[in-house]
Subunit: 166 residues, 2 copies
DNA sequence: AATTTACGTCAGCCTTGTTGACTTTCCAAG
DNA sequence: CTTGGAAAGTCAACAAGGCTGACGTAAATT
């Protein structure tokens, strides 16, 4: 009932019950979201933290450690442990900064790009299936709500990574 | 350009670039999603795992341990550690099953409900703000995509918790 | 009577987060 | 030129919260 009333003045979508459903949807969907990469990584010596580092280095090649710390929201000690193994295993290269030699510019090696591709292929496949099933209008709404849900600082990070958007 | 073309036959929303944006939106939004309860719980002896247990016990009063295991997707040892502290601290009550005395029916005590309210108020507040900012149509799309992203088993769990939906 | 189920628990391990302290390197301002 | 502070790396210790394996008990089922 009142299903057609989505014109804007209806506030039925703001009931506690609707909000709780949204909360649970986030919980269950996030599980699916991470499931495929987790499966790939289990058995390797890597975990979700490695995936995140690889993702954002791929996304912004040459990014610095500080920059990555800001994006991932962890301590440098925590990130360093992850980065250390990736560098030692030859998946990530840390080049001394040209202008500021204190900085390290991070890049994926060929081997690192191979794993990145494997992980993001899996994650994109699920995303693609969900998008296709839901349709373009739903996808638009999906992105709008997620963006509104972010902390302002995270929203900045998210948006600043969007050069080249159509 | 081509912005208006969201009519259904356009597949622009399925490009790798669009998918990657969706992936990052999930990552950043989930951080926001958990930020407020995390803040409340830090300092107490509890964490996100306790929050999840409290949420679903509140959601399905009288639920059994096995049932909760299925929803949360963790091992009984992991859940037990969390449940143990909640019971010892008087937030959760475990009543011996009436029909089947092997089962434990879990309920929140008054004290448990107090914490649950505090946590879910905070989480709902963010959700409400996001929903309000995005509008009813976006919320509809948000839920549709999230549901499509779940593993089939999780989708069952999600939907089976929806009695009483309008 | 034997087996299965539901739950609890002990012990040990791993990942990934934390704090605190310290060093090295380097840029930039005094 | 010296010095203060930022950037990065590292060591140590710890905690939360996952995991496996093994074992025990009570109750239900066969």
């Amino acid at each position: 009932m009142a299903e057609g009333n989505t014109g804007g003045e209806s506030l039925l979508f703001l009931t506690d019950e609707q909000l709780r459903k949204g909360i649970e949807a986030m919980f269950f969907a996030y599980r699916g979201f991470t499931a495929d990469p987790d499966r790939i990584l289990e058995g390797m010596d890597y975990g979700r933290a490695h995936h995140r580092a690889i993702h954002f280095i791929h996304r912004s090649p040459g990014t610095t450690v500080s920059n990555l710390l800001g994006i991932l929201g962890v301590t440098k000690q925590s990130l360093n442990r992850v980065l250390r193994t990736l560098i030692d295993d030859g998946l990530v290269e840390a080049r001394v900064g040209k202008d500021d030699k204190r900085e390290r510019n991070l890049h994926l090696t060929a081997k690192g790009q191979e794993l990145e591709r494997q992980l993001s292929d899996a994650q994109r496949a699920r995303m693609r299936a969900a998008y296709r099933a839901a349709g373009p209008a739903a996808v638009q709404g999906f992105r709008t709500v997620l963006e509104a849900m972010m902390d302002p600082e995270m929203r900045r990070q998210y948006q600043s990574l969007r050069e080249g958007e159509k």
